[in-house]
Symmetry: C2
Subunit: 234 residues, 2 copies
DNA sequence: GTGATCCTTCGCTTCGCACCGAACCATCCC
DNA sequence: GGGATGGTTCGGTGCGAAGCGAAGGATCAC
């Protein structure tokens, strides 16, 4: 039998403006402190503490204590895609009224953004397409895998991946994630996270105004073309 | 800029036990009257009326007046997959604790069920695979299309589809829908709905105890093998 | 027409919970 | 040690919403 009450609990944990604001702030995959989350939600620290406890109990976020700070992040990519699909229903209007014009209206968000811990938007999809075309990864339906050639390529570029990629690992090496705006898969999983981290470390991309939107740096344009043959102008 | 408040509105519209129960009852794609929904939610009709109005305002369901009855159904397949993914988070526990064992625990639900208005579960995925193998449909990422050969095949089997399948129609002819338990795409859209309706009309399948779970009838096993070459025993 | 059924609107009560002030732990810095 | 900073716990207040009873359309059956 299914569970209507559990459904209500999860939804109720999201359905409050302050908590929703916190979740949106966590959508980029970063871990934020309780105080920072209190600020983005415009509530006092003690109120935020209660909200965070509720969301942890609902398995939406996880908290980790570090010194006198407590960092919170989304419990998983599942939560991120859940929230994105909810925003699509709420923002884009009903599917029956306006079937077109899905995705964020902000052009910058459509061009490039982070989705949980990996790259999304046109940039994410282009990288994904390029890796498929190069035979580095294979994507079929809901499953994805990194080929031997892909492992070599990542090593060349300098992206570290686990040496023994076990199947059925706690976190898959490569997993397709449906892109919100492009409606096509981009690469998530450990490979997606590693690519994203690498892009930040080498300053291929940087956040626009601390948001989820990204811009590709001039140096990044060159590096992306050399590494994966991707054109990012246009 | 993104919209935390719209997110909260949608979630709040789901996050109440009575409303969640109604949505779960509508998950099979049928349209239920306000009175029936009041019963499944265990509230009085006047309370249910208020709940239904809220969910209509949140674009989760749509209401249609017929005589003195008012039928309500989910606003779209988007809503159905949203609710399924929410139940996955709430029911299966956090993704970090038990990464395996996704999908409904009920074996019958895994085998065959309805998802909104089309077939899902092993049965749905097998039909989808068979149609792809026969060249009747093509699925690529988030897009799907019915080939000329597929139209011929449907005509042979006796499944009616719109004669002029316009691209960008208000509802796509064929759309892949990620299967909850199988984690692979099955066929939704108008073709998926037509297939499901046909399977019910010809008594290929029937509901188990009025739930979303389906069983394939002996006659259905034969018909599915003849029409699409699908084995349903095992 | 009259009665019955289905649904909605109105008024009211009650309960939950978001919010903050104050006080209380934990940790870091000096 | 003392002080400062980040978080949490504890009461208490107030708003909002879920719930039902009663009354009011709307539609069908006769």
């Amino acid at each position: 039998m299914v569970t209507p009450n559990q459904l209500a609990e999860v939804a109720a944990a999201i359905g409050e403006p302050a908590r929703a604001a916190m979740l949106v702030a966590l959508m980029d995959g970063r871990a934020l402190t309780a105080g920072e989350l209190a600020e983005v939600a415009a509530v006092t620290p003690q109120t935020a503490s209660g909200h965070l406890a509720k969301m942890v109990a609902a398995h939406l976020i996880v908290g980790e204590k570090q010194g006198r700070h407590r960092y919170h992040r989304l419990a998983g990519a599942d939560v991120a895609v859940l929230i994105e699909s909810m925003m699509r229903i709420g923002g884009g209007g009903p599917a029956l009224r306006k079937p077109l014009r899905v995705g964020p209206r902000d052009a910058a968000l459509r061009a490039a953004r982070t989705c949980y811990d990996h790259l999304a938007g046109q940039l994410g999809v282009r990288i994904s397409d390029a890796l498929v075309a190069m035979g580095a990864v294979e994507i079929e339906g809901d499953n994805g895998l990194v080929t031997r050639r892909g492992l070599e390529l990542m090593a060349e570029v300098g992206i570290a991946l686990p040496v023994h990629p076990r199947p059925r690992a706690p976190r898959p090496l490569c997993r397709p994630c449906l892109d919100w705006s492009e409606r096509r898969p981009h690469i998530a999983g450990q490979l997606g996270a590693a690519l994203c981290a690498h892009a930040f470390e080498r300053a291929w991309v940087r956040r626009i105004g601390g948001s989820r939107a990204l811009e590709v740096t001039p140096h990044g344009k060159t590096a992306l073309r050399e590494a994966f043959g991707i054109r990012t102008d246009g």
